[in-house]
């Protein structure tokens, strides 16, 4: 179980304050898989790191299985399986088996427990036949599976994953999702992702962050119902507020995918039910991924002209 109550965090970079999280609150129960989504820089990783006890929040409280992540950090660590975004976070010269045994040992497992648990997990993630191959020879998909195995090494009740399928091909990604799905049945899983198909497929609950604020939370179905039906509209020159809805170009026309109740000049092409990606696009600001600031209009105009 995870409880996040008015968590805030501000970073100071070269004298400038960056509000990474602003009074975020939500709860997750056992058996729930939650997708944490948002633009780059929306605060997802900061929140994962706060729950992992790796960053201390400025205000608010967060609890894992009823234990405070700041006051009881050492105890909380025992309850967590963490998968960070870094692919390099293993020892390249050691084999998959050795890497898992290493991390099992430092998490407190005895030598025999570490060996049997590492073997069991390698089999579970489908890497048993690669167990004696050095990590440096692993593909991205294999590396991510090994990272998942490491997160499960102590059989924790709570798993936190930061972009777990980043860089994976669609088949490996699908395989990975099935693994996470089976794990989530008796655990609490919180994962960040930019892949809306993945979140829609896996998550019982979605939390959307925008510039450090929680702007929506609910099941994928609830969120999709909130946006309703989408319409595809062919238009000549969308204004800047519509730029985020552009999905394509056709014969000098822009194709927009907008909520049906939105007034847009142009020819309606078709209507479709909203996807989670539509929810995300509709609810969040358009943010420049390199600066995390709203873009001014004009980029598409310049490009179109």
């Amino acid at each position: 179980m995870i409880e996040v109550d008015k968590i805030s965090k501000t970073f100071r970079v070269k004298g400038k304050e960056i509000r990474a999280l602003d009074k975020i609150s939500f709860q997750l129960g056992k058996g729930e898989i939650c997708g944490l989504v948002g633009h780059n820089g929306a605060g997802k990783t900061t929140l994962i790191k706060i729950l992992s006890t790796l960053i201390v929040p400025d205000a608010g409280e967060a609890r894992v299985e009823n234990h405070d992540v700041v006051k009881e950090a050492n105890f909380v660590r025992k309850l967590l399986g963490v998968m960070t975004v870094s692919e390099r976070a293993f020892y390249y010269r050691l084999t998959g088996m050795e890497n898992l045994m290493f991390f099992a040992s430092i998490r407190g497992l005895s030598l025999s427990e570490a060996r049997s648990r590492a073997k069991e997990l390698l089999e579970m993630v489908g890497l048993l036949e690669w167990k004696d191959i050095p990590y440096m020879k692993y593909s991205t998909g294999m590396a991510r599976k090994l990272a998942l195995a490491r997160a499960l090494i102590t059989d924790p009740p709570v798993i936190l994953m930061d972009e777990p399928t980043l860089g994976m091909d669609p088949i490996s990604s699908r395989e990975f999702r099935r693994l996470v799905e089976s794990l989530g049945r008796n655990r609490t899983v919180l994962m960040t992702s930019h892949n809306m198909v993945e979140v829609e497929d896996l998550a019982d609950r979605v939390v959307i962050l925008n510039r450090g604020k929680l702007i929506a939370s609910g099941s994928p179905r609830e969120l999709k119902e909130r946006v309703g039906t989408m319409k595809l509209v062919r238009t000549k020159m969308p204004d800047s507020r519509l730029r985020k809805y552009i999905v394509g170009l056709s014969d000098q026309y822009f194709i927009l995918r907008v909520p049906e109740n939105m007034n847009v000049e142009g020819d309606e092409v078709s209507r479709e039910p909203a996807t989670l990606e539509d929810v995300f696009v509709s609810l969040t600001d358009e943010v420049d991924s390199t600066t995390n600031r709203s873009r001014g209009g004009g980029g598409w105009r310049r490009w179109a002209s």
Binding site: R12, S105, R107
Partner: protein, 266 residues
Amino acid sequence: MGVLSKLYAYIYLRGFRIWSSYKTQMVLNVLSWILPVFTYYFVGTSLGGELESFGISSYTAFVVIGLAFQGYVSSTITTISQRLRNEQLYGTIEYYVLSEGGVLSFLIYSALWGFTINSVNAGVILGIGELLHVDFHVNVLSTLIVFALLLSSALGLSMISAGFTMLVKQGNPISFFFSTFTTLMSGTVFPVTVLPSWIKDISLAIPLTWALEGLRFTMLEGYGIGGVLGIVEVLLLFNAVLLPLGGWFYLYSFNRSRRKGTLSEY
């Protein structure tokens, strides 16, 4: 809890397995232990009896003890701060924070690998000393006491050095000082009595200076604990200051990084 598995993980897997997987580096490491002994042996041979006026009856014996134990301090300190930096670069530092025993356990077990590799280094150097007819008269108990105090003071300095690595990432002054100045200032290859008095005063603020003097007494002259009591007291004083200060600074640097969100930055 799980001490054996941690020793296996830190010393065998992360230490020996990775170190020995770089064969060329391994050979160069061993050469770097051996060659200085011969270099200084020939320096001593060419000087003949000139060193007796400085109270050194056998320069080879003097330098063998110096080189064998100097590495414990300098390389343990640099090994730990380098290790910490490597873990930041690999992205594994966060997994150590999450580990049982946390970052203190990381430091102690990492230091153990440093001590292990230096023990091999010291063993090789002392073995070469034996081949070069160094006349050892070892008092085991007093040697172990002085040696243990040297190791624990090195651990205290390592914690301060690692704390600097967490805070400044690169440009660690403690690591720089001990990797470059200890040979010059701590009586490793020549007695500190030849140094200008103000440098000599600084050298007395380094635990290694005292430990080397003590180890020469206990390993070459067979002094018992009574003979090196003054040195033991000074080393105890160093430990009383360095261990709590190092522990506090090391944990402070990690907690500060957690507050600032810079734990994995490098």
